[in-house]
């Protein structure tokens, strides 16, 4: 969030001083941020080109581990489950269904592919669904001291061989850990993302979700993706024609027009 401020401040240094205004206080940024050049070094990184589509566990596979909530978080989830059952599947939903899921949900979206872009000091993910992105800074910076919570959180990463290790904190309270499940501000997500052993067209995201306030134990699960080199991400503007408005009771409508 600091970059636009820095740019504005820089613009103001020349313009505002001419106008006789006081010089703005510079906002410190990591000295390694956005280094010029260094593109050749990216060739050493693994081949994650193309787009990636989430794969379902094969039929008969054991169900993936679910978050083990505790305390009030468990009670609130149980109340939510009860509400879902009592309303025949409809449930109150914050905002519109065009609100994106945030982390960790955005990594687990079926049908809609995602991609990874490598640039010096940074890995960027693009997610077709809701047209979201994640910035994963690999330039050695730390998380900001004064974190601005966001849907995707603040992500820093580093490479361990062909594995991108990502540490994410600062995810908004309103973002669900999983459907009906809330989390505390102690939520931390660690991902180890790498090509599958023996299958270079599969990508694995080993995700460990820790929240000592909301979870009885870390939630450890693995997402797998299949590569398509032919597909490309398509535009997904959810508000273009939302035919399914949600009323105050969470009931999803059906517009005939």
């Amino acid at each position: 969030m600091t970059k636009p401020v820095v740019l504005l401040a820089a613009a103001c240094v020349s313009l505002c001083l001419e106008a006789g205004a006081a010089a703005p206080v510079p906002v410190p940024v990591p000295v390694t941020a956005h280094p010029k050049g260094h593109f050749a070094a990216l060739d050493a990184l693994p081949d994650w080109g193309g787009v990636w589509v989430l794969t379902r566990p094969p039929a008969g596979a054991p169900p993936p581990e679910k978050p083990a909530l505790k305390g009030q978080y468990l009670q609130e989830y149980q109340a939510w489950q009860h509400e879902v059952e009592s309303k025949g599947g409809e449930v109150a939903h914050e905002g519109s269904y065009c609100t994106p899921p945030g982390m960790p949900g955005i990594m687990g979206i079926g049908q809609y592919p995602m991609e990874f872009l490598f640039t010096p000091g940074r890995v960027t993910t693009h997610h077709e669904a809701w047209m979201q992105w994640r910035n994963i800074y690999t330039d050695g910076r730390k998380h900001p001291d004064d974190l601005e919570a966001s849907f995707e959180g603040d992500s820093i990463g580093h490479w361990e061989g062909g594995t991108l290790v990502v540490d994410t904190v600062g995810i908004k309270d309103s973002v669900a850990l999983a459907m009906g499940m809330k989390h505390s501000d102690k939520l931390r997500i660690t991902e180890r993302i790498h090509l599958a052993k023996g299958d270079p067209d599969s990508l694995v995201d080993e995700m460990t979700v820790e929240d000592p306030v909301a979870l009885a134990k870390p939630w450890v699960h693995t997402l797998t993706f299949k590569r398509s080199r032919e597909w490309q991400l398509l535009e997904f503007e959810c508000a273009e024609n939302d035919r399914n408005p949600v009323d105050a009771n969470g009931k999803t409508g059906f517009k005939r027009e």
Partner: protein
């Protein structure tokens, strides 16, 4: 019937097989019922988050009833072989749907037979979530 209850994340967690409800509840459709309707396309909306079209179906009384059919999003339909030109007003089609629970003439798209006999799917994700080895074929 938790499979109908909401988001993609729930689907992923439960590893369920009704993948179309990426962005909202599908509880308004009766997934236990399948029906076929045959009629004339009167409108086609090729928009996110869901495409849709209308079909006028002639009743026994000779009057047309307009059915409103909701579909997967265009992005997924494209990858299943659909195009923005696949149907147009005036086309005679037969559509398989899960009807609305409330009895209004509408439903969730499952498949279609076009006037020339060609069929299209795209109700859910192709190939169980795996991208095809090549782009979906152009159905013409």
């Amino acid at each position: 019937m938790k499979s109908l209850y909401l988001s993609a994340l729930a689907l992923v967690l439960a590893a369920l097989s009704a993948p179309a409800w990426v962005h909202h509840s599908g509880a308004m459709f009766d997934r236990s019922k399948e029906m076929k309707i045959t009629g004339t396309v009167t409108e086609f909306q090729w928009t996110n988050p869901h495409a849709s079209f209308k079909v006028d179906v002639l009743g026994a009384d000779g009057k047309a009833q307009t059915w409103s059919i909701e579909m997967n999003g265009p992005n997924n339909l494209i990858r299943a072989g659909w195009k923005r030109t696949s149907i147009k007003p005036g086309d005679k089609v037969t559509v398989t749907i899960n009807p609305l629970r409330d009895g209004r003439p509408g439903g969730w798209y499952l498949g279609i037979t076009l006037a020339d006999g060609k069929t299209l799917g795209g109700a859910g994700e192709p190939s169980g979530g795996e991208p095809p080895a090549a782009p979906a074929p152009d159905h013409g």
